[in-house]
């Protein structure tokens, strides 16, 4: 802040040198300072060392600032490798390295945990819910009588309904969960957990099968929201098409849709809406990772020039990628 120049009647500036020599060095070399004591020398040396260390600290050299002062960034977590609860790739998929660690979060998505079925009352086999899962759900169906599904540490039952019927019940207990089922007839339960970790699916086996080939590729750029990663459109051996998103991230929101656009490089939502688009080819439940989507038979991607991530709720083009021959 400016300290305006005023004249004080008290003692004037101390040590001020009015140099006649125009060289800046004339000001930097004060005349005959008294020799410093050992203590002053030590303090000066320590001060300079502290200044130097803080300069390195400020540059976050080797991440030292975050190591010492902590980080607001969430700790990296193992990403999911499938839509099931497995931590290893499903059978048939090419072997990959250990699950990736990522600090990025996806829109919460449902990852299947287990399927239970039986007739009458029973204590179901235990299953595990991730410690950082948002919640879990049971998608149930039953044929006759009544179905009561409860978790021991949950005050209200997840399901308490008359049969026949089907619906969804929810729970929030984490870790090992053992459901108590009270029923008079046959029933089936699918347990899913809501997680926000990225999903890194391996490519579809059909993408590397003989006769399969990438036909279009592009890199995502942002329109209204952040979008990064690469898009590759494959022609599969059976003549159908599939899209693979690699190292993908888009700003999280529910019900984002994947579409194709005839524009080469749409830059605004208006440009996207002013031109015909393909119907939605898939709804994004996971918003970061590497994902595969099979295209509906009636969508020919080669008729379009760009790929768009569209938010129907906000009527907004989040991100797009210009598609070029692969």
């Amino acid at each position: 802040m400016p300290v305006p120049e005023t004249r004080a009647s008290g003692p004037g500036p101390v040590g001020k040198v009015v140099a006649e020599d125009p060289s800046p060095m004339a000001e930097l070399t004060l005349p005959n300072p008294p020799p410093p004591s050992i203590l002053q020398r030590a303090a000066t040396g320590f001060g300079l060392l502290a200044l130097l260390v803080s300069a390195l600290f400020g540059g976050n050299v080797a991440g030292m600032r975050e190591r010492f002062l902590g980080s607001e960034t969430p700790e990296a977590r193992p990403a999911a490798v499938s839509r099931g609860g497995e931590t290893t790739p499903p059978d048939g998929a090419p072997a990959t390295e250990a699950p990736r660690q990522s600090v990025l979060r996806s829109q919460p998505w449902w990852q299947s945990v287990t399927t239970l079925e039986g007739t009458g009352s029973m204590t179901a086999p235990a299953f595990a819910i991730n410690a950082d899962a948002v919640q879990w759900r049971v998608k149930w169906t039953c044929q006759s009588g009544r179905l009561l599904v409860s978790a021991p540490e949950q005050r209200r039952p997840a399901v308490d309904a008359a049969c026949p019927g089907s619906d969804i019940g929810y729970g929030i207990q984490k870790g090992k969960v053992i459901l108590q089922i009270t029923a008079t007839g046959p029933w089936q339960i699918q347990v899913d957990q809501s997680v926000d970790v990225p999903l890194f699916e391996p490519p579809l086996p059909a993408m590397s099968a003989p006769g399969a080939r990438p036909v279009l590729t592009g890199s995502l750029y942002r329109i209204d929201q952040v979008g990064t990663g690469t898009v590759t459109v494959y022609r599969l051996p059976d003549g159908s098409h599939a899209v693979r998103l690699d190292d993908f991230f888009v700003t999280a929101n529910s019900d984002l849709e994947l579409q194709f656009s005839p524009l080469e490089a749409p830059r605004t939502t208006k440009q996207v809406t002013d031109n015909d688009r393909s119907p939605s080819i898939a709804t994004l439940d996971v918003t970061t990772g590497s994902l595969n989507f099979r295209l509906p038979a009636h969508v020919d991607p080669t008729q379009f020039r760009s790929f768009v991530i569209w938010c129907e709720v906000a009527n907004s083009a989040y991100s797009a990628a210009t598609l070029r021959p692969a």
């Binding site: 101390v14 400020g58 976050n60």
Partner: protein, 381 residues
């Protein structure tokens, strides 16, 4: 040491007797132009607390002002045996609190002490730099500027940040803030003959950031959905109230700015150019704010050279050729002697580290995550 830079008290001079020693007392004077500046800063603080939703508490502001005032008072007393109203220290404290923010502080938590240690550190660094880094016999760096820059770079974006470039949400608050800033600028800058410097900065900065906007530069900010680019990029930089406060009330400090009028114009343009050069690499609001503040740190270190250049221009050609003389080891001796002085070494470290550390922010993914709001409920800003 430049303190006490206050107006002369009326005769007879007041004093107190302490253990038989008569100690002069320098009381605040209404003629002291620092009161104008304090009035502007305090008005902005009031607007920030009432209409502008600033994430700084009254306790943070008062403690920083008090700490800086007490330190300045003690240093002045020990060094000059006078009891002086610590106007400079209080002003430094209020300036630190005007710009610095501790992560997690919410607007309306009037007495929150969250992150108070960062305010105290910034105040301490400001005054340490003022009283210890004096390579030309007076302080080289703007005290509040170096304290804030040190805190933003060393403590980092997880714990501190600078007041947003955009001030809101109240339109009335924005209008009042602009009125106070521009009115205050005219009121203060005329008195210290800094208007040409401010114009020089603003024009250079507006042109350079305008070029960046046309070239497609953008940045992300926690308060904005999506990237800020194009006209919005330019307006948010060139006409940000934060930048205006920086120009009118920080870089215009006559104690650290060059004395010659031409030097001041060069100083303004140089600060804007360094700021733009550092902004060029930044994609986040945090990085841009640090770049703007760091530019002053860098250019303050160049002020002795700007002043020397101005003096050279004033010399007659004959005198100039005589003063230059042949290059010889003898002429380099002052440079070697100067480089052995701790204050010069410290100034050199600060002047080199500030831009390098600022540029390192451009590659910091954590800043990007924070500005995108992707670090969840613990979001730093």
């Amino acid at each position: 040491m430049t303190a006490p830079v206050v107006a002369a008290p009326a005769s007879p001079k007041p004093h107190v007797t302490l253990r038989g020693e008569e100690i002069p007392v320098v009381l605040p004077s209404r003629r002291d132009p620092r009161f104008k500046l304090s009035a502007v800063v305090i008005t902005l603080h009031i607007l920030g607390q009432t209409l502008l939703d600033w994430k700084v508490s009254i306790a943070q502001i008062l403690i920083t002002m008090l700490l800086c005032g007490v330190i300045e008072f003690v240093i002045t007393f020990r060094g000059q045996r006078i009891i002086a109203w610590p106007a400079s220290g209080i002003l430094t404290g209020s300036s630190v609190a005007l710009i610095l923010r501790a992560s997690g502080t919410r607007h309306g938590d009037w007495w929150s002490l969250r992150g108070i240690q960062w305010f105290i550190l910034a105040g301490l660094i400001s005054l340490l730099a003022k009283h210890l880094i004096r390579p030309t016999g007076k302080h080289l760096f703007n005290p509040s500027n170096i304290g804030i820059v040190w805190c933003l770079l060393v403590i980092g974006p997880n714990h501190v940040f600078a007041q947003y470039l955009w001030w809101g949400p109240s339109r009335i608050g924005q209008a009042l803030a602009f009125a106070v800033i521009i009115g205050g600028a005219i009121w203060i800058l005329r008195a210290v003959r800094m208007i040409p410097m401010a114009v020089s900065f603003l024009v250079t900065f507006a042109v350079l950031t305008g070029i960046f906007a046309l070239a497609g530069h953008s940045f992300i900010a926690i308060w904005h959905v999506g990237e800020i680019s194009g006209l919005e990029y330019w307006v948010n930089l060139a006409f940000s109230p934060e930048v205006l406060v920086f120009v009118f009330f920080m870089i215009s400090d006559p104690q650290t700015a060059p004395k010659p009028p031409l030097g001041r114009v060069v100083y303004g343009a140089a600060t804007a150019s360094v700021a733009a050069a550092l902004i060029y690499f930044q994609t986040t609001e945090f990085g841009i704010k640090v770049a703007i503040l760091s530019s002053l740190t860098v250019v303050c270190a160049l002020v002795p050279f700007i002043e020397a250049w101005c003096r050279r221009r004033q010399l007659a050609p004959v005198e100039l050729s005589e003063s230059r003389g042949p290059t010889s080891p003898a002429r380099l001796k002052p440079l070697v002697v100067a480089l052995r002085r701790p204050a010069v070494i410290a100034a050199l470290i600060v002047a080199v580290a500030a831009p390098i550390d600022t540029m390192a922010l451009a590659n910091n993914n954590q800043v990007v995550l924070i500005e995108r709001g992707e670090v969840g409920k613990a979001n730093a800003q």
